[in-house]
């Protein structure tokens, strides 16, 4: 199966030979469809998908939940971050069929334009976004990250593994570093998250 990463090398001469039998197999038969059911934003969803479909593409292309973004499709940018079972997941790096029975929350499940989640409202207030493309991932990541801190999950910069974790600026920045914002709204995003964390505490 091809991945975005392997395509990075372009159409290499001779490569297609190895692919040909696979192509014949696919051409001869029907797509390898798999059924999967999970809960998205509180609603049960059942899909029959090409087994190669990522969770991200299942959300965006099949359920039309396009709030989760495809920035790199190779797990490097964080724009596709959704919350699965309370934990942050880069949804481009995981196949939809691996989530049978899982509870998935996307940006659309956090709030709506008329009824913003506190984290969404804080991003608006602190201008923690510009182009908006990394924003849903940042917000999902931030919401789940605060719960990780509360649960005592340490990070690279946690000094004392036995103490309660304090959400210092360094902790926040370290934990959010999987979500790239090329517009450079980091300073504002940190303020938005800090405000929400303070309110929660």
């Amino acid at each position: 199966m091809g991945t975005a990463a392997s395509v990075a090398l372009g159409a290499t001469a001779g490569r297609a030979e190895a692919q040909a039998p696979l192509a014949q197999t696919l051409a001869a038969g029907t797509p390898s469809l798999s059924k999967v059911s999970f809960t998205v934003n509180g609603a049960a969803r059942e899909l029959e998908l090409d087994a190669r479909t990522t969770l991200l593409d299942a959300l965006r292309e099949h359920l039309h939940l396009t709030g989760s973004k495809k920035g790199c499709d190779q797990g490097q940018c964080g724009a596709c971050t959704v919350i699965v079972g309370g934990r942050r997941v880069t949804s481009c790096l995981t196949l939809a069929v691996m989530h049978q029975g899982h509870d998935i929350t996307t940006i659309e499940g956090l709030g709506t334009p008329e009824n913003l989640h506190p984290m969404q409202a804080a991003f608006v207030k602190h201008d923690g976004y510009q182009c908006g493309y990394c924003t849903p991932g940042q917000i999902c990541s931030a919401v789940a990250m605060l719960n990780e801190v509360k649960a005592g999950i340490p990070s690279h910069v946690t000094a004392d593994l036995n103490a309660d974790i304090e959400l210092t600026n360094a902790e926040l920045r370290e934990r959010m570093s999987g979500n790239i914002c090329r517009c450079g709204a980091y300073s504002n995003i940190a303020e938005a998250i800090t405000e929400v964390a303070g309110r929660q505490a």
């Binding site: 395509v7 090409d50 190779q74 940006i107 924003t135 979500n179 300073s187």
Partner: protein, 755 residues
Amino acid sequence: MKFDAPATTNPIDQLKVVGQPVDRIDGPLKTTGTARYAYERHDAVPNAAYGYVVGSAIAKGRIKSIDVAAAKAALGVLAIVTAENAGKLEKGRLNTAKLLGGPEIQHYHQAIAVVVAETFEQARDAGQMLRVDYDREQGSFDLRGGMDTAKPAGITAGPPDTAVGNFGSAFAAAPVQLDETYTTPDESHAMMEPHASTAAWDGDKLTIWTSNQMIAWGVGEVAKTLNMPKENVRLISPFVGGGFGAKLFVRSDAILAALGARAAGRPVKVTLQRALVINNTTHRPATIQRIRIGTTRDGKITAVGHESWSGDLTGGKPDGAVSQTRMLYAGADRMTATRLAALDLPESNAMRAPGEATGMMALEIAMDEMAERLGMDPIEFRILNDTQVVPDVASKPPSQDPQAINNREAQSPSKDKPFSQRQLVQCFRTGAERFGWDKRIAQPGQVRDGRWLVGIGVASAFRNNQLTKSAARVRLETDGTVTVETDMTDIGTGSYTIIGQTAAEMMGVPLQKVAVRLGDSSFPISSGSGGQWGGNNSTAGVYAACVKLREMVAQKLGFNSAEAAFSDGEVRAGNRAVPLADAARDGSLSAEDAIEYGDLDKKFQQSTFGAHFVEVVVDAATAEIRVRRMLAVCAAGRILNPKTARSQVIGAMTMGVGAALMEELVVDKRVGFFVNHDLASYEVPVHADIPHQDMIFLDETDPMSSPMKAKGVAELGICGVAAAVANAVYNATGVRVRDYPVTLDKLIAKLPAVG
């Protein structure tokens, strides 16, 4: 509306809405994932097939053959388009290389095919079944190797070379001299949303939902490339997931979506795979810059010379790294030179503040070095050499921006062209006080904080303000709300909000009563977004349309338009007040106009200024560099929305940290491509790299710029900041790095002994 005399008092000066730090009006959409980007238009195009782009595996040569049989037979494949079956395609006026290559290949990852299939997975799979045979030719991929044969090349609106007085003899005679060479690497925009388009044909009419900064340019380019009339092309781009110059131009996603849709007989959407973006699209070219400065013993610049080399494909353009050196500091004898080497790397083009971004990276280290040689404070050295007139009288004003392809005629310069506003000195004074500059120890390597070596650095910021025609349509609806339509784009800049603020101020209604519709080529043609020209020009266009609408309203309600005041949802004059909505009781009122400029920018140089202050710490043992504090002080005309403008500046400062410390496209000089073509190996700043950022706007209005009295600000923040970081690293360590990025391997061998 012609703007040919300095602005006087107008309704914008009320600053009830304009100038207020209001939240973005598109915020609720963007933060809830309900803003729809180009690849997400299930609402408008419910049955789009998926196109997958295949890039060339060689940098230069020819395709001998493409065997598409296996791909064509693959499940779900609807069409495969290559140069062989695409029909005759023209090269866009703004493209250097063709968007669909073959048989000739001009650069690595040039698109050679799009495979269209029912699903993304099928298209991706089939895309890898193409068997391509190439005839590979040797290319030129090394800028340094191309320096000797590099040729003079103009920087869009300016000449390649300028000379005032006699630089050679003045430099030779200068008692204090600096002659150093600096390099900046190739850089990638790396915006979060890759180039993406959804294309649909209706007969011979084509609609492309795309991600593009310049809608009207794009319409012309699509029409030219596909050999069709402009009237049959519509572009729609209401949300753009970042651009930074990468989306100024139509790229292969749009053209291949259109070709794929034609071949498949149904709408097709294409997004460039992240791994293709870097070598398929444009990038900021690497530069080699030689700077010579000569001064008197007390620090007056007598001679300044700046030469720059960069590379591009044949037919391309150089980086304008010498631009600011023509304007920023005084000095009687001066020269600049621009040389372009022919390289077979992917296409070079504009990236955020093209010219000044790279030029200031070099010049502002040189100024720091020179101050040290003089034993002067680097701020005092800059202030001593401030100038209120453009010193390079031989240069052609006003624009040397590669993005500026407006039809602006170069004209012969007048002597002593003053700046419309120039508060560079005030920026430094304000920043020095706020930052605690007086605590700086000039001798490097003196300040320790535990394991960290601490240093602070400073640099000027400079970027020109550009004027270009911009139109809008404003409508008073029957319910008293106001709708603005213009093809202006919001690429994260805040266009929606400042345009809404402008209309609200002009029509005297709250911002909530204004609807802003952008990014559609069926709307009046705006300035578009680029070169920090969008904010001032697009709002000035809305101002012009609002002036017209006010006249229509006044006439309808029986007011003298010169006396009528619009506020609180009413039109007033004398004792009479009428609800604004009454003017539209018989039907909505619509006005369209454009701002057009006279020659104020020829008489006055319009530029924006700032000062960057940075504190870094460097690990005394490992040379790891961390940015600890950042402050920018900017003077950029009226700030239309301090919240969004600040975000523009701190975002640019962030990108500048990337340029200073990590960003570098690594050239494989054997194969001829950028090796690190993804977001893991092309490093950009992440949360952990960026501290809280401070920024201050000086109070300024510029009546020469437009009725808004605003100027560009979005690119000022990146100009100079990388040098401020590099200068801070020097102050911390005593190691002067002249080859960006400043990475720990360039420091570690020379660090002070660990004590």
